[in-house]
């Protein structure tokens, strides 16, 4: 019956992990007001997380816009609905792909760098040094990074969508030859600023919280060895991605179920 006991132990360990994570999150929230006063620290983090991710986000957004336009065209033209290409790409990006793909890219680029940074700080005893100097490392190190991520993510997501729509415009109007006027006017009449764009922004804010928190937690709780840090960065990407996709399903169901 050893495997039963092992299963039980694993399950308890998982719950313990979630509990620990939840407490960590609450602890982080509690020091946020204190951290908000140090705007300089937050600005540095927004730069490290947001500005440094611009290239990959913009490049991916453009590529996704191109590809979506091409693929959707082949599907729509069979129903004579090629004119709606702009609308289809717009809604796909603004409602779903913008927030989700940005979050996945964020987890890979910014998330892993945060995890590694915090993990190495912990390994080099910098966190312990701060604690022994009577400075709360959560307020000084973690909270600014958390706020930086939460601010950067919606900006990156909306830029992804914007660049994607432009990419689609290039393909649709430039390559395929769809009427430019129709391309924009159909979007303007059917895409709702609150329901579609607004909900997309809310999603990306939620994903920002998730991805940044997971990255910081994994870095903070990692074992202070090279293997530990490597393992932690992998876990950051996997857990962030799964959480984002799961949360996306829940949010989509909540936001877009009623027409």
């Amino acid at each position: 019956m050893n495997w039963l006991a092992a299963l039980g132990a694993r399950t308890l360990a998982v719950f313990k992990g979630w509990g620990h994570g939840a407490l960590f999150f609450l602890g982080l929230l509690r020091v946020l007001p204190q951290a908000l006063k140090r705007f300089g620290l937050i600005a540095v983090q927004i730069h490290a997380i947001g500005n440094r991710s611009l290239v990959i986000i913009l490049a991916s957004g453009l590529a996704v816009g191109f590809v979506l336009a091409l693929q959707m065209y082949y599907a729509l033209v069979t129903y004579g609905a090629a004119e709606s290409l702009g609308l289809v790409v717009n809604l796909s990006l603004v409602r779903e792909l913008g927030p989700v793909v940005t979050a996945l890219l964020f987890a890979g680029r910014a998330g892993t760098s945060l995890t590694a940074e915090i993990g190495l700080m912990k390994a080099g005893e910098q966190i312990a040094a701060m604690e022994l100097m009577a400075i709360d490392p959560r307020a000084r190190v973690l909270a600014p990074r958390f706020l930086g991520g939460v601010v950067a993510m919606p900006i990156l997501a909306i830029l992804f969508s914007a660049v994607g729509i432009l990419g689609a415009w290039v393909v649709a109007v430039g390559l395929i030859g769809i009427d430019a006027g129709n391309f924009w006017s159909i979007q303007q009449s059917k895409v709702d600023i609150w329901r579609d764009v607004g909900n997309g922004i809310v999603k990306s804010a939620v994903f920002g919280v998730i991805c940044t928190f997971v990255a910081l937690y994994q870095g903070y709780e990692t074992e202070a060895t090279p293997e530990g840090v490597a393992y932690a960065t992998t876990r950051t990407v996997v857990m962030s991605s799964l959480a984002v996709l799961g949360m996306d399903f829940i949010l989509t169901a909540l936001m877009f179920s009623t027409p």
Binding site: G40, A43, V44, I46, H47, G50, N51, L54, G86, N90, V94, V151, A152, P154, I155, L156, I158, L159, S161, A162, V163, I165, W184, Q187, Q188, S189, K190, V191, D192, I193, D196, V197, I201, P259
Partner: protein
């Protein structure tokens, strides 16, 4: 340490985000026509509102002049009560009629306003008296089948009829 430099870059980043958002909002969404211009409220009652949704446009001669703001059911008369907001620049006569129309063959439904001939105009809070309910597909098919059956019946009772 370049602190000023970093803060400038962050400022640019946020500005870029706002630019992206404005682009999407204005060029690719309905913010341009959103406008919080001055509007006045009108009510209209229908036997059947069909597929009319909140935020559906109100059009007159095909031009968007307002939006549907809420839809409810009158508990006493069991009629659908539609509240709409119309731009203040457009004034309609008191005997104007409201119809629920479909854009295109199978598109979204909107509220069409047809002007009447009264000297006085509808004021804020007024109710549009003349309304035409939405066309319900099932009823239409039913009518069609009924009239077809009626034709067949009358045709049969006149076999030597003077059908040219």
């Amino acid at each position: 340490m370049g602190k000023k430099g970093i803060e400038t870059l962050v400022g640019l980043f946020v500005l870029l985000g706002l630019a992206g958002f404005s682009f999407v909002a204005l060029k690719a969404a309905n913010l341009a026509s959103f406008g919080s211009t001055d509007t006045y409220t009108l009510t209209a009652r229908f036997d059947n509102i069909g597929g009319l949704k909140v935020r559906a446009p109100v059009r007159s001669a095909g031009v968007a002049v307002g939006r549907v703001t809420s839809i409810g059911l009158d508990g006493k008369t069991f009629q659908g009560v539609v509240t709409l907001e119309v731009d203040r620049i457009y004034q309609f006569p008191k005997d104007s009629s409201a119809k629920i129309l479909t854009s295109g063959l199978l598109g979204d439904q909107y509220l069409g306003l047809e002007p009447g001939g009264d000297d006085k105009n509808l004021a804020a809070g007024d109710t549009i008296k003349q309304t035409q309910s939405a066309v319900v597909l099932e009823n239409l098919i039913g009518q069609f089948l009924f009239s077809k059956a009626a034709d067949a019946g009358s045709g049969a009772s006149d076999p030597a009829g003077g059908k040219k």
